[in-house]
C-alpha cells in the first residue's frame, strides 16, 4: 500500500511543502511565509496536496515532518527535524555523491559536510549577521532599484569590474553602496560587488570546513547565477544546483517522514 508523507519547511522568506509517495515526489508548493507561520504552513501544504491531483486531504498523509525556523509552530506535524539535517537528507537523496552542501536562505546561510550515507558530520551557520543571506540581496536590490530580485544575478554577470564592498554589516553595506552610487559607480559593478560581498561571507564559513565534491548549492539564493559563480570562484569548487533548490529542505523532511513511518 502506498504511503504518503509530507515535509514542510517554514523559512523566514518562504514556506515549502513536498509530498512524497513511496519515494516519488508527487508535488511541491512554495509561497511567501508572511507574518502568520501557522497559516503559511497550512496553506502551502494544502496547495501541494491539491497539486497531487489525487483528491486527498491532510488526513491522508501518513506522517508529516516540519523543519525551518517555524517548525515548532506547525501543529499538524508529527515530528520536527532541523533544516540542516533536512537539507543534507534531501540533497543526498537527489545526488548520492553529495558530500558538501551550502544553503543560503532568507535569513541564514549554512555549510554542511555529509558522509556517504548522507549523515551530517560537520556543519556551520553564519554568525549573527544578515550579510551572508538572501536578506542582504533583497536590501541591495531595493537600494539599487533592480526591480525583481531575480534580475540581480544576470546583471552581476555583465560586470567586468565589481566594486569592493567592505562592510561586514548589511546596514552599513547599504550606506557604502549609496556612497559608491553617488560617486558614479556603474550599477552593474555595484551589483557584482554586492554578490561578491555576500559570497565572500559564506565562503569564509565554508572554507573552514572540508569542501569536497560533489558540492551542492541549495536554498532560494542558489537560483542566483551570480552568487553561484562567485561562490565557485571563492571556494575553487564547482557547485551543482538542483532543479528546485528551494525545496530541498522540505524534500529532506518528507524523506525523514518516510523513514519514521518505516521504523
Amino acid at each position: 500500500m502506498s504511503i504518503l508523507t509530507a515535509g514542510v519547511d517554514i523559512g523566514a522568506a518562504t514556506a515549502k511543502t513536498v509530498i512524497l509517495r513511496d519515494g516519488e515526489i508527487l508535488a511541491h508548493a512554495i509561497r511567501p511565509t508572511g507574518y502568520d507561520v501557522v497559516r503559511a504552513a497550512a496553506t502551502v501544504t494544502e496547495e501541494a496536496i491539491n497539486k497531487t491531483g489525487l483528491g486527498i486531504g491532510l488526513g491522508d498523509l501518513k506522517y508529516v515532518v516540519s523543519t525551518g525556523y517555524g517548525r515548532a509552530a506547525i501543529k499538524f506535524a508529527n515530528k520536527t527535524f532541523t533544516e540542516l539535517m533536512c537539507h543534507a537528507k534531501g540533497a543526498h537523496f537527489l545526488m548520492p555523491s553529495t558530500r558538501f552542501i551550502i544553503d543560503i536562505g532568507g535569513q541564514d546561510s549554512k555549510a554542511i559536510e555529509v558522509d556517504s550515507r548522507g549523515n551530517v558530520v560537520n556543519f556551520a551557520m553564519n554568525d549573527k549577521c544578515a550579510a551572508g543571506t538572501g536578506r542582504f540581496l533583497e536590501v541591495m536590490a531595493h537600494v539599487l532599484e533592480v526591480g525583481s530580485i531575480d534580475n540581480m544575478g544576470p546583471i552581476s554577470l555583465t560586470s567586468n569590474d565589481p566594486c569592493e564592498i567592505s562592510s561586514t554589516c548589511t546596514i552599513f553595506a547599504e550606506t557604502e553602496v549609496v556612497v559608491l552610487r553617488a560617486a558614479g559607480k556603474d550599477r552593474k559593478d555595484l551589483i557584482a560587488g554586492v554578490h561578491k560581498s555576500l559570497t565572500s561571507r559564506v565562503a569564509i564559513m565554508a572554507k573552514a570546513m572540508n569542501i569536497q565534491p560533489t558540492a551542492v548549492f541549495t536554498g532560494g539564493v542558489a537560483k542566483n547565477v551570480g552568487v553561484k559563480k562567485y561562490l565557485e570562484e571563492e571556494t575553487g569548487m564547482e557547485f551543482l544546483v538542483p532543479d528546485e533548490p528551494q525545496i530541498i529542505g522540505a524534500l529532506g523532511a518528507a524523506l525523514f517522514a518516510q523513514r519514521e513511518v518505516r521504523s
Partner: protein, 489 residues
C-alpha cells in the same frame, strides 16, 4: 501571618522558622530588588519548570543562594564591610579575608544577583540595562556580569563596598571595572595579577616563576586587605576561611562522579547552581550550600542505584560537556536537553574541584599554594589549560561531544573561539560545536537563537551513537533509501 513570598521560599528550601525570623530582612531585600507578589508567582513557575525540585537538595541549594543575596544586600546596613571580587574568582583570597573577621562580608555580587534574579526570578534584564547606563554600554561585548554589578550599584540593590579584589589576569574587565568603580564610587581595589601564558603542550607543567608571581600577588592583596579592612589574617583565619571552599570542592568532585551514571540523575540547570557557589559566596551561600549538597548527594546516589534519571533525561542520551552553563537564563541550558543531549560536567566545574588536582609540593606561603592549585585547575593556565580539562573530563565522565561557547561577553573565553573545536576534535575524535552566546544576557542570544544548531548537533550525536550501537543500522538505511530512489518500495 503568611506573606506572598512564603510559598516561594518554602519551595526553595527555607524552613518556616527561618522565614519568620528573617521577615524584615527578606522584605527589605525584596523591596530593593523590586520584587512583588507577581514576581513570586513567576519565580514559582520558573523554578518548578527548570529545576528538579523533587530533590530536596536542589531546593535547599536555591534557598542558600537567596540567603546569600539577602545577606549581601543588607551587609553594609548591618555593620559589615563588604568586599567584592569579580569572576572568575580566585576563591582562596576571598575566603581568607572572610575567615579573618566576622565583620567582613566577601562575595561576588555580579554572580549572586545573576544567579538569583536570572535563574529564579527571571528579572535580570532591568539590572543589566541599568548597568549599561552606568558605564558599561551595550554593543561593545563588555562583560555582562560587570553590567549586572554596575546595574546593582546604580539601582541601589547592593551597597558600595569597602574594597574590591580583582583577579586581573584572566581578563581585562575586572581591574578596569574596579577603576570605574573608583571613579564613580571612590572604592579601593587590590589587584591580583598574573598572566595566562602557558604554551601549547605545557599543561599541566607550570613554570615556577608563574607560581611565585601569582603567589606574591595574592599575598600582597591579603596584606592590603588587612590594612583597608583593619583585620588580621592569622593562620587560623586562613584555615577557617578556606575550609568551606575545600569542602565544597570535595562535594563537587563527588557529584561529578555520580554524574557518570546513565541516565544522568541531575539536570543542567541544577548543575549550574554549583558553578558559582564557591567562587561567589563565602557565607550562607557556601555553608548552607554545602549542607544542601550533602542532602543532594544522597538523593542522587539513590537515583543512580535505582537507575532513575532526572525527569525528561533519557538513558543513552548523548553526553556533552560545556564550558560554562548559562547563568542568567535557564532556558538556554534546557535547550540543550530539549535537543536530546545531557550535560554531566562543565569546564568550570572541573576547575572548582570536579576533577581534583593536587600540586606536587606544599609551598611556604598561602598565596603560592593557592596559585599552584589554580594553574593546575586549568582556567588560569592559558587557553590550552581549559581545553585539556575538556579532554580529561571526556575520559572521566564519558562524553559524546563538546558544546563550546564563543562568548560574546567574555573576551578571554572567546580567544579559543575557532581553534577550540579543531583542537578537541583532533585530540578526542569527538564532535564539537561552537556556538556564540552571552552566558548572562539572553536578550540577543536566546534559547531559540541556538535551537537549530543545538538540535542539529543532538541529532548528529544520536545518529553517531546509533551507528555505533546497531550492527546493521547503516545497511538498513542505505538499502531503504536506494529503494526509494528506484521507486521500488
Amino acid at each position: 501571618m503568611a506573606k506572598h513570598y512564603d510559598d516561594l521560599l518554602t519551595l526553595c528550601g527555607w524552613e518556616k522558622n527561618e522565614i519568620e525570623d528573617e521577615r524584615p530582612r527578606i522584605e527589605e531585600s525584596f523591596r530593593r530588588l523590586e520584587l512583588g507578589p507577581e514576581d513570586m508567582k513567576t519565580a514559582d513557575t520558573w523554578v518548578r519548570t527548570y529545576q528538579d525540585v523533587s530533590l530536596m537538595g536542589v531546593r535547599k541549594l536555591l534557598g542558600a543562594w537567596i540567603k546569600e543575596l539577602i545577606d549581601m544586600i543588607l551587609a553594609k546596613d548591618e555593620g559589615l564591610k563588604p568586599v567584592y571580587y569579580g569572576m572568575p574568582a580566585i576563591t582562596g583570597p576571598g575566603f581568607i579575608m572572610a575567615g579573618a573577621s566576622d565583620d567582613v562580608f566577601v562575595c561576588c555580587p555580579d554572580y549572586i544577583i545573576t544567579q538569583v534574579m536570572g535563574h529564579i526570578f527571571n528579572k535580570l534584564t532591568p539590572i543589566i540595562v541599568a548597568g549599561e547606563q552606568n558605564g558599561m554600554p551595550p554593543g561593545h561585548a563588555l562583560c555582562s556580569l560587570w553590567q549586572v554589578r554596575m546595574g546593582g550599584l546604580a539601582k541601589g540593590i547592593i551597597p558600595v563596598p569597602a574594597m574590591t579584589v580583582s583577579s586581573s589576569y584572566f581578563c581585562d574587565m575586572s581591574a578596569i571595572g574596579d577603576t570605574l568603580m573608583r571613579g564613580l564610587y571612590g572604592t579601593t581595589a587590590a589587584v591580583i595579577d598574573s598572566y595566562m601564558d602557558g604554551r601549547w603542550g605545557e599543561f599541566p607543567e607550570v613554570r615556577p616563576e608563574r607560581i611565585t608571581f601569582l603567589g606574591e600577588q595574592i599575598n600582597n592583596a591579603l596584606k592590603k586587605a588587612e590594612k583597608i579592612l583593619n583585620i588580621t589574617i592569622t593562620p587560623d583565619a586562613m584555615e577557617k576561611g578556606t575550609r568551606g571552599a575545600r569542602e565544597c570542592a570535595d562535594r563537587i568532585a563527588r557529584i561529578i562522579e555520580i554524574m557518570r551514571a546513565d541516565p544522568v540523575p541531575w539536570n543542567a540547570n541544577g548543575l549550574q547552581l554549583l558553578e558559582g557557589l564557591a567562587p561567589a559566596s563565602t557565607r550562607r551561600g557556601i555553608t548552607e550550600g554545602n549542607k544542601a549538597l550533602d542532602i543532594l548527594i544522597s538523593e542522587l546516589e539513590e537515583r543512580v542505584a535505582k537507575g532513575i534519571g532526572s525527569p525528561g533525561l533519557k538513558k543513552g542520551a548523548p553526553r556533552v560537556m560545556s564550558y560554562h552553563l548559562h547563568i542568567g537564563d535557564p532556558r538556554c541550558n534546557r535547550a540543550v536537553e530539549e535537543s536530546g543531549m545531557v550535560i554531566p560536567v562543565t569546564v568550570v566545574l572541573t576547575w572548582l574541584g570536579g576533577l581534583p588536582v593536587k600540586p606536587d609540593k606544599v609551598y611556604p606561603t598561602a598565596g603560592e599554594n593557592i596559585a599552584a592549585m589554580e594553574f593546575l585547575r586549568g582556567l588560569p593556565f592559558g587557553s590550552n589549560g581549559s581545553l585539556d580539562r575538556f579532554i580529561q573530563a571526556a575520559d572521566f565522565v564519558g562524553l559524546d561531544g563538546f558544546i563550546l561557547k564563543t562568548l560574546y561577553n567574555c573576551r578571554p573565553a572567546a580567544v579559543s573561539s575557532r581553534f577550540g573545536k579543531k583542537y578537541l576534535e583532533e585530540k578526542t575524535g569527538l564532535p564539537a560545536i561552537m556556538i556564540e552566546e552571552d552566558m548572562v544576557d539572553s536578550r540577543v542570544y536566546s534559547a531559540d537563537y541556538h535551537r537549530t544548531q543545538l538540535e542539529t548537533f543532538g541529532e548528529l550525536l544520536i545518529a553517531r551513537n546509533a551507528w555505533k550501537n546497531v550492527d546493521n543500522y547503516e545497511e538498513e538505511i542505505m538499502e531503504f533509501e536506494a529503494k526509494l530512489r528506484s521507486s521500488e518500495a
